[in-house]
Assembly symmetry: C3
Homo-oligomer: 376 residues x 3
Amino acid sequence: MRSFFFKLIKYKYIKSQIFTNFANCFEFMMKFTLQAIADIVNGIVEGDSNLEVWQLAKIDDLAAAGSIGFFANPRYESYLYTTQLTAILIAKDVVLKKEILPALIRVDDPYTAFTILLETYSEVVQQQYIQTKQGIEQPSFVGKGVQKGANLYIGAFAYVGKDVILGNNVKIFPHTYIGDNVQIGDDTIIYAGAKIYDHTIIGKHCTIHAGAVIGSEGFGFAPQSDGTYRNIPQLGKVILQDNVSIGANTTIDRATLGETLIAEGTKLDNLIQIGHNVSIGKHTVIAAQTGIAGSTKIGNNVMIGGQVGLAGHINIPNKTRIGAQAGVGKDPQEEGETLLGSPAFAVKQYMKSHIIFRQLPQLQQRVEALEKILKS
Amino acid sequence: MRSFFFKLIKYKYIKSQIFTNFANCFEFMMKFTLQAIADIVNGIVEGDSNLEVWQLAKIDDLAAAGSIGFFANPRYESYLYTTQLTAILIAKDVVLKKEILPALIRVDDPYTAFTILLETYSEVVQQQYIQTKQGIEQPSFVGKGVQKGANLYIGAFAYVGKDVILGNNVKIFPHTYIGDNVQIGDDTIIYAGAKIYDHTIIGKHCTIHAGAVIGSEGFGFAPQSDGTYRNIPQLGKVILQDNVSIGANTTIDRATLGETLIAEGTKLDNLIQIGHNVSIGKHTVIAAQTGIAGSTKIGNNVMIGGQVGLAGHINIPNKTRIGAQAGVGKDPQEEGETLLGSPAFAVKQYMKSHIIFRQLPQLQQRVEALEKILKS
Amino acid sequence: MRSFFFKLIKYKYIKSQIFTNFANCFEFMMKFTLQAIADIVNGIVEGDSNLEVWQLAKIDDLAAAGSIGFFANPRYESYLYTTQLTAILIAKDVVLKKEILPALIRVDDPYTAFTILLETYSEVVQQQYIQTKQGIEQPSFVGKGVQKGANLYIGAFAYVGKDVILGNNVKIFPHTYIGDNVQIGDDTIIYAGAKIYDHTIIGKHCTIHAGAVIGSEGFGFAPQSDGTYRNIPQLGKVILQDNVSIGANTTIDRATLGETLIAEGTKLDNLIQIGHNVSIGKHTVIAAQTGIAGSTKIGNNVMIGGQVGLAGHINIPNKTRIGAQAGVGKDPQEEGETLLGSPAFAVKQYMKSHIIFRQLPQLQQRVEALEKILKS
């Protein structure tokens, strides 16, 4: 069952995965003093705090000078006395049995400290990179009445329609299309080739990944008596609140009337479909290739796995968890339920039924055996 | 079961949804006389037909002057005598018990009249908007031998290849790619960043949404004896007939030889995959994220829900209905069947089986109980 | 069961499909002598080897002069003596009963020879077409330090970032976005509007279809104690080895650290999602709309159907086959297994269980009948 919640569960694995992927050595693009590192991880230097390191390495490697590693697992204790690391993140209560080469940075939890170090470094690098994007590359198209914030980047071949309002530090990568009357808040990044239709409102600190389409006309067709379909115009819009992330090639339809809403802090993965007039609450995460039909309301802190389908016009309460590939067709009864299957029901019940599903031929044979006994 | 057909069923909900989303008040962008409105809804004015309204409102609201509402549900009768609406759509047979403020527009069915009013207004707004798109923005790229109809719009950064034929009123939004020898019929709209490969033929009154890819090479790879795959060139094309709608980021592969065909009036939602040499009949609707493998033929007036998968080389008869997330691997036997599940079978049978699936642990216990009784 | 493996099975159908789609007549865009054709199909001409043909036709058609067909099925023997074909591909051991009009090209297997002829022709046409794409169209954007190979094509509105390395015969279609420090090997084609993020490495002879997004930030968000999510920077990259094909609007996330890897000869269909740090082996084929969660490793020569979901952090051994719409949550035990269902298990077992699933109401009735008998 663990594994089946695949895309949900991945959030738990992010930290361990950093180590898995970390391989043996990771080189920084700058040098840090041990004091600077101690400040980041809330630790205390034992040794020369002016020493510099410029790469991360495992303690069991043939680590070169200039590297920092961590000591958490007692099995690796022997390495402590032989390693060539310049510094080691180490727990406050570890007592060394003899002298060692590396300086120490004493911390509460070396594993967590190492993770924080890597994440902090990553954020610095990413921030530095994004701040190199400045100014308006040519050719680009900026319509009449556009309001521009400070530190703006507009990439070549980007199109910004009439009366668009762009906040400070907005970064618009090449080939982005922004329709008329769009509003984009401070520090929002829109990657290459995203398409934002007219009247969309995007908050602060949002990230829109390449190829995402926000505000396209929903799938509204009224069946006619002759079997044809008539197009229903879609006059509403899309609102993304602050800190929202939208994955690559994800599509979000605008409302028929009113708005399609993605609330604060919610994260959507790639290739997701959000129908017209859908409303998604705060701090909800949705994995790739999930589809949500029109007018469905999703609460706060919901987790939805990959390839899930949600019917239109239903309500998903706060903290609901929906496993990958589930199909939800009616309102869950209460907050915090965990659902699986298509149509979906409680995950524990689903897994019990599924185990018997796998053994249905045997169950049928047992029924046959009983029938034979009773006949004779 | 209703709810499980999620994306199918939504077509029925479109009208009610207009009201759901309509909230309390909707402001027109222009003023209408009551006579103009009576003409739209086929009604008769009782009162001053020169009065003007500029917004829609509910009868149970604190509606302001300048608003028009409707009276359909007898429960709301008391509001008739207190509302500040300027005009009310009302059935022909309603007898008022005392004098009221609003003028009346007598119609057969006030609910339908209100819907028609809203839809008509929406269409006018949309038409007016699209007609503001005129001329050729710069920079754009138009190849040799391109034939251009009247009232053409080519947005900035659009690319139109050689020998392309563009009808009247064709609107090509920014970043659109149109390959060589493409034909596009009158009144067709192609939104930002759609990619139309060489030789594609698109009919009249079609809508291609942002990011759709039409005519890309199908997934044709011949397995070789050494375990590698050889690419099979795809020389065919894609034909979209009149009144076809293609959703955002949907992909339609061109034929190996011959054509991939989407017939008249058919509507495809977002993120759909159509394989090479697929043929889809007239007035068929397909919801988001459905995939159709190569060479499958789909009839007329078929309805397919979201996230459905259809095998290659099968035939789906006219009027078949396929529920969301179904997987169809063989030809349905007759017209008009309704299918669900993966592999799919008749929906009623599916739902019966699914109810027992949910109770499999109990069924197994009953078999165990029988076995115990017979043993003893 | 055959049909359910839909998108897998299609590889077997490619040849027959060429004939299905071939209709009645296919005209070459050039003329071939019979000797040239004999050279292509490894055959021997009986008759005038300088005769020219310029179309393919069926033997049972009213074939015009200038056509070449094939004779494989004895049922069509009578046509041999009446057809107007200029030449026929025919098996070496066929003995003619009387004189015929067409010249013969004797081959081992006429059906295979005909296929080879069509494929070879298709490849020539495609090669010729792609070689017409030469030079740098304007406006386009080429950053500092870009290394350009011979016979390069950069379409209008394409964006090539800083320090990009482009091999020989690289073809970059309009609206393509290529970030900084990307490397692209010889003979690789990138179709319109694909987005390649910074630091991606693409091998030789690759094809990237329109709208594909390669190297976007993965879905990495660490849950915080207050219910919000913190963004985990993604500093890794994507590597595509030689002869890789990526479908339209497919998305491939870059690694958190290290790399997301698609190995040599692997083919991905449209609208696929590949999570961060996924590794896919050699000569693996994956059909449309499949999603693979982060850090999963897939072996060589694996076949994955459409709309499949794979959990994160699992290992799929070499030669595994996964049927359409399956959900795989844990490691298959050995090489070469065939899986179906969600959660997936062995296909034979799945189909047996599914047959009983369809008859669950009857099974339940049988249990009820037994219960009644035992009660009375």
